[in-house]
């Protein structure tokens, strides 16, 4: 029996943005829509934080909503959180709030708040979900808002459609085969291969990462950022591949993601456009997390989970800073100096701080996580540790290069006032607090991730120990479900 939270936090945090999206759609202008979106995403964040706090006081690995309405209607407990996903929900909600808050008035016409709230609801539902088919459905639905935006902007959707279409097809086919194979070892090769390729596609692993650069180049920065930053691809790996995936599948993901981490870090150092630079930077970090998730040691896995959190916050903040600068001077070329420091010293500071946090600079959120990840990797495979270190070194150089190109090198002459707005300063304060607070007082966060890592490893080694959501409903137990390899 899965313990219950004290309030339907999950359902509220998923439902509220959906209602907000409807309200945004019927509002006459974008300014009003932004105000509604801010209120709605703040409420969502409140529910997500409530869920996290409630869960952390329960001392359990899994929990589901109180008065679970979905369970009553569908006779299936779709939304269950565990130690892995509990902090990811408020984190994602925070990213959405920060993005909405920091959208400048000049760019209101280009950013759809309704679509953003719909995508927030989908992301939160995905991160609250354990049911494989539901995860597949939600991951598929999450591709719709960026696709619509690409269409609206008149950009080619072929690359995005091709990759995401293939991703969805492989996921559906792979999981259907798993359902059919009913745990026969000989039949697991094909579905495991299909699922592995699918999650590699979604995670943007080289050589199937072009959709990500394309999305960053042609969609709005906010939409692209919010599509990749919550790292739902890694979440899919954790729930669709790792619990039953054969050794070779996990090795393939680890090797390819590690190669991607180094390759993307190298690519980030030579980029001439800020968006592509950010895309590769994010890809490198996300791949580091993905490779760390395959490390079968508590230290390495704890490090990967810590880096997951730190990358979400730090690169989320980094991306928002870049977006704010872009809103002032247009697309940023890294081929020349822009000298924005004098006009936007606050943004320059946040850019540097979040960038350094992402590479695990001492005193910031990412430091301990990166140390744990490298130590865990060195303990299992020394060359993995070296590759992680190489990626971190290249990323560090790329970040400083971008900082110097955007904020220094000349005096930017303009008669317009480009200073940061109160909403941006609010975002800066919140992110700085998280980056430095988590860095200077890392123990609670690291201990929580360590606990999650212990349970995940237990579950990986002994899948029969897991209490699946279906177990809450005795009548749902059928013969076919008991024979499922992930049951």
């Amino acid at each position: 029996m899965i313990p219950e939270l004290h309030f339907p936090w999950l359902e509220f945090s998923i439902l509220v943005p959906l209602i907000g999206a409807i309200a945004c759609a019927i509002l006459p202008n974008q300014q009003a829509a932004q105000r509604v979106a801010i209120v709605v995403s703040s409420l969502t964040l409140l529910f997500a934080v409530g869920e996290w706090y409630d869960f952390s006081t329960m001392n359990t690995f899994q929990a589901h909503d109180h008065w679970d309405l979905i369970q009553r209607i569908f006779r299936h407990d779709y939304f269950v959180i565990d130690e892995l996903s509990a902090p990811l929900l408020p984190l994602s909600a925070l990213l959405y709030l920060m993005t909405i808050v920091s959208t400048l008035r000049t760019k209101l016409g280009r950013f759809s708040f309704g679509m953003t709230l719909i995508s927030e609801s989908i992301v939160l539902a995905t991160l609250s979900c354990h049911s494989p088919w539901m995860i597949i459905t939600l991951l598929s639905l999450a591709c719709v808002p960026p696709w619509i935006e690409l269409r609206r902007r008149g950009a080619s959707t072929r690359i995005f459609s091709l990759h995401m279409g293939l991703f969805i097809a492989l996921l559906v086919l792979g999981w259907s085969l798993i359902d059919d194979s009913a745990g026969h070892q000989s039949a697991e090769l094909l579905p495991a291969a299909l699922l592995t390729i699918a999650v590699l596609l979604r995670a943007g692993v080289v050589p199937v990462h072009c959709w990500m650069t394309d999305l960053f180049e042609h969609a709005s920065f906010g939409t692209a950022l919010l599509f990749v930053a919550p790292m739902t691809g890694a979440y899919a790996v954790m729930h669709l591949v790792l619990p039953f995936g054969p050794e070779w599948a996990m090795r393939s993901i680890a090797v390819l993601s590690l190669t991607t981490a180094v390759y993307a870090a190298g690519m980030a150092t030579v980029q001439k456009e800020a968006r592509r630079f950010f895309c590769y930077l994010f890809l490198s970090h996300a791949s580091l997390v993905l490779s760390g998730l395959e490390i079968v040691s508590t230290i390495g896995l704890t490090g990967a989970l810590c880096v997951w959190i730190s990358v979400c916050i730090s690169l989320g903040g980094f991306g928002l800073t870049l977006r704010s600068v872009e809103a002032r001077i247009g697309r940023i070329s890294l081929d020349r100096y822009h000298g924005m420091y004098e006009h936007t010293p606050t943004l320059a500071g946040l850019f540097l701080l979040t960038g350094l946090a992402s590479i695990g600079f001492p005193g910031t959120l990412g430091f301990v996580g990166m140390e744990l990840l490298i130590e865990g990797a060195v303990g299992v495979f020394p060359f993995v540790g070296l590759a992680v270190l190489m990626a971190a070194t290249l990323n560090g150089i790329a970040i400083m290069r971008a900082y110097f190109r955007i904020f220094t090198g000349r005096r930017f002459q303009t008669t317009a006032i480009l200073r940061s707005r109160p909403s941006e300063r609010f975002a800066v304060l919140v992110l700085t607090f998280l980056v430095l607070g988590g860095g200077l007082w890392p123990q609670p966060g690291v201990a929580s991730r360590h606990h999650a890592a212990l349970h995940l490893l237990e579950r990986r080694m002994n899948p029969q120990l897991v209490v699946e959501p279906d177990d809450t409903l005795p009548e749902q137990h059928t013969e076919s479900q008991e024979e499922k390899p992930d049951a």
């Binding site: 690359i159 247009g330 001492p362 130590e375």
Partner: protein, 485 residues
């Protein structure tokens, strides 16, 4: 108890300065130049007084080693999961047959603790005192030198990061803590080199300094993790033996010492601008004079030598390693001596003069000396700070002197003129003028191939994306022109 309090004050005082200046920046609280200078002076003074108290206590009580343990910053419980046991079992069984006890021990190593430990000993206390004295002097100097300078506040913010980094590095009791300080020093140095950031040249030099530091830091981190694995702890006591510095005896084997020592030597070479990384030192002089004086002339440039002194028990285990240290010092010394003679500006000449002394210090360490290099560091740092701080006014004095004489000052003749033919002298001159071609070699054989590979990959990716999208690839350009986000 009093010693513990003094120890905490040594660490807290630079941290408090950074906190005050950082929070003022964050909350946009305007601080006057005088207030900033006062905070900086208070921080250096309190830290210095506390350090002197500890030194007095150590001398009075004849104690060589005072540890200050602030507890575990991060501590993960030693919980052993089934997964760990399985992993340990699989790994061990693949290589050799072992007993159940050994498996359990391996599984139990899945713990992690990052302790904040500082050590006051014969190496750290003089280094910390020197850092506080020189930082204090430069803080007072910068108050006037940078008066009404646009980046006055920014300078002191970076200065506070640097001072904190130096103190953490000097007093670190664990290799991870030393790494923290090491990184802070690196960041502040790179930002200070790029201090005059409305011109491209300082910024380019700042990026080069940062790049060298990042590569060297990667070597340091690998060495730290390797040491951690070999000794089971990052604590210097466990790494270097129980004896007080410099009397510790490391417990690792000669080959292990060679591996770890080589990595640490690489890291030290990056930080102390030894060959082949010497190119960054004259570039670092793009920064304001106070930072050039205290950081690249006095403190930062000695941090590599300090690291070698701190891990001296590891060096002692391997004669090959000691030979490498001496050889690197010797090569750097010859190179720096040549380069120093042809520099056209006073700060670059002084930076190479610094490098000569640093390489001699490295040679001394490689030869097994311990106290002499330490004394050499302190003496050299103080003299070089004075020279660099005096350099701008000295040039003015020379100019006045020449005006009074009505002629140039007499040129000192080089002894090389008697020994070398004009052709050889020209070749040496060219070699020295080009700074040993070190930057060119690194650029041509390391950076350029790397950049070319990734630029080629970028072009290929763009072609592939264009092919897949079925467009001419002009959309990005259109967006850029409209500033669309």
């Amino acid at each position: 108890m009093l010693v513990q309090f003094a120890g905490i004050m040594v660490v807290i005082s630079p941290a408090a300065l950074l906190a005050v200046l950082g929070l003022a920046t964050l909350f946009r609280i305007p601080l006057s130049e005088r207030s900033v200078a006062r905070y900086a002076q208070a921080s250096s003074s309190i830290g210095l007084i506390a350090s002197l108290c500890i030194l007095a206590y150590m001398l009075a009580m004849n104690i060589r080693h005072v540890p200050l343990e602030l507890g575990d910053w991060v501590h993960l419980e030693n919980e052993t999961t089934e997964a760990d046991k399985d992993r340990a079992n699989a790994q061990q069984a693949a290589t050799r047959e072992i007993s159940e006890t050994e498996i359990a021990e391996d599984a139990n190593t899945q713990h992690f603790h990052f302790s904040l430990k500082f050590v006051f000993d014969r190496l750290s206390v003089p280094f910390a005192i020197m850092s506080f004295v020189l930082c204090g002097v430069i803080g007072a100097f910068a108050f006037r030198y940078l008066h009404l300078e646009e980046g006055y506040y920014r300078f002191f913010l970076y200065y506070s990061i640097f001072q904190l980094g130096m103190i953490i590095s000097s007093l670190a009791g664990t290799i991870e803590t030393l790494f923290m300080g090491w990184e802070l020093v690196g960041l502040s140095s790179a930002l200070l080199v790029a201090f005059f950031h409305d011109r491209p040249a300082p910024v380019q030099n700042g990026l080069r300094v940062w790049s060298v530091y990042r590569v060297a830091d990667a070597a340091f981190l690998i060495a730290a993790l390797t040491l951690h694995h070999l000794s089971g702890s990052g604590d210097f006591e466990a790494l270097m033996g129980k004896g007080d510095w410099p009397g510790g005896h490391a417990t690792i084997t000669e080959n292990q010492a060679l591996l770890v020592g080589s990595l640490l030597l690489f890291a030290a070479a990056g930080k102390s601008a030894l060959v082949p990384f010497s190119g960054w030192l004259p570039r670092a002089m793009e920064g304001p004079t106070p930072s050039s004086a205290v950081f690249y002339g006095a403190l930062s440039v000695h941090l590599g030598a300090f690291l070698l002194l701190r891990v001296s028990p590891v060096l002692e285990l391997s004669p090959i390693l000691c030979g490498m240290v001496v050889a690197l010092g010797l090569i750097t010394m010859i190179f720096a001596a040549m380069a120093a003679r042809v520099q056209a500006d006073v700060k670059s000449a002084l930076s190479y003069a610094s490098l000569i002394q640093v390489s001699i210090i490295v040679i001394e360490i490689g030869l097994g000396l311990r106290y002499i290099p330490l004394i050499h560091i302190i003496g050299h740092a103080c003299v070089r700070t004075l020279q660099l701080v005096r350099a701008p006014s000295l040039l003015k004095d020379y100019s006045n002197l020449e005006n009074a004489l009505g002629d140039h000052l007499p040129d000192s003749r080089s002894v090389g003129r008697r020994w070398w033919s004009p052709t050889m002298r020209a070749r040496f001159y060219r070699f020295a003028w080009e700074r040993g071609y070190l930057d060119s070699v690194l650029d041509d054989f390391v950076v350029r191939p790397f950049v070319n590979i990734f630029k080629w990959s970028d072009r290929m990716e763009r072609r592939w994306t264009t092919f897949l999208s079925g467009t001419s690839g002009t959309r990005g350009t259109a967006d850029r022109e409209t500033g669309e986000t």
